[in-house]
Symmetry: C2
Subunit: 192 residues, 2 copies
DNA sequence: CCATCAGGTTAACGACCGCTAACCGCCTTG
DNA sequence: CAAGGCGGTTAGCGGTCGTTAACCTGATGG
């Protein structure tokens, strides 16, 4: 667990505020002037840090997809050979992500089509690989259902876990354990 | 079950295509010319049927919210006194909706903030009432969890059921029964 | 101590978008 | 058969948006 203590760079500030604004009002609904204002500079000043508005969205989506996949792969390494523990670990990791980076989780399946084809393909590939991690372990644990069904199940559980943006009043840890229970309950129904 | 055989009106064509386009590219990402082109007329021709682009989105969102709530209330009437059957009925109804009106389900929690305050409040109120239907029956069936938890659970299951936009290759009926099983599995975890 | 450069500023341009204006043909109906 | 309105059309206006141009300033380092 490496925690950063140094101040965020201007680039990072911009990305964070852009993520929040894009999630709130949609990519096309946010102007560069607003993003600039959110970090205390004015619109065109952003172009010292990014070649364009598209590039900000691209970096956000590629970034989150890479971090999700990396985290998933790390967990596969750690819990190799114990599918049950691994699935639990993947669920916990995804929940942490959904609760910590709410705007990014929102963007991640909402604004994908606003990317240039190159970036979009890259993001989709990363997402597919991440999903594949889940599908593999789900199929080890529940061999009965056909692959398409396992895939759809994982998708649906993602939808369940990512539903968190809408909610507030339950507290972080309570929400965490609730989502964990619900996800396990959903997967469990594959065995019955 | 009342099925319509008469041809759709121009208004209905417009709403359907607008829903599809809004879901695909976002409200701000679609121009009125595109919507017009999708129904074979050109941009400004739409203003013979709607006072503006906002009004199309408003009618779509209010419409879907009302239909969801009406269907839910009907099911509450039909299955009154049998919470288990009622929850099953609500789940089935929501699944039908999610599979039949995919673009609308997408819009419904994605573009709500693009509405004028009046319409937004109305939609939110309808959504809240619909959610309340679910929360009531869930609390009857699983009295242990506090209300906030029941509410978050219903939200999460909505996320699960609405995840269907992303998927295709499983076939309508297979998807239907899978989602039903997953939703019951998630709710079931509240009793353990 | 001056040159450089990173990181800002404001002005402005061209494209696009929602919407209005003005016009028109066709069906309906008294 | 004339009148009117329904449902279109094209032209164009005003505003906004992403981006570029030109300029400025304070810190840095040889």
């Amino acid at each position: 667990m490496s925690t950063r203590t140094d101040a965020p760079t201007r680039r990072e500030q911009i990305l964070k505020e852009a993520a929040r604004l894009f999630a709130e009002r949609g990519f096309h609904g946010v102007g560069v002037d607003e993003i600039g204002a959110a970090v205390g500079i004015s619109g065109p000043g952003l172009y010292r840090h990014f070649p364009g508005k598209d590039a900000m969205l691209a970096e956000l989506l590629v970034g989150i997809s890479e971090r999700l996949l990396d985290g998933g792969r790390r967990r596969v390494q750690e819990a190799a050979g114990d599918p049950e523990a691994l699935l639990g670990s993947l669920i916990d990791g995804h929940i942490d992500f959904a609760l910590d980076d709410r705007p990014l989780i929102t963007l991640h399946d909402r604004e994908l089509d606003r990317l240039r084809e190159t970036d979009r393909k890259r993001v989709r590939q990363l997402q597919r690989q991440y999903l594949e991690l889940w599908v593999t372990v789900v199929r080890e644990l529940y061999p009965a259902p056909p692959e398409a069904e396992a895939r759809a199940t994982v998708h649906a559980v993602f939808g369940l876990l990512n539903s968190t943006p809408h909610i507030g009043l339950l507290g972080r840890t309570a929400m965490e354990s609730l989502l964990r229970r619900l996800a396990h309950g959903a997967f469990g129904s594959l065995g019955a």
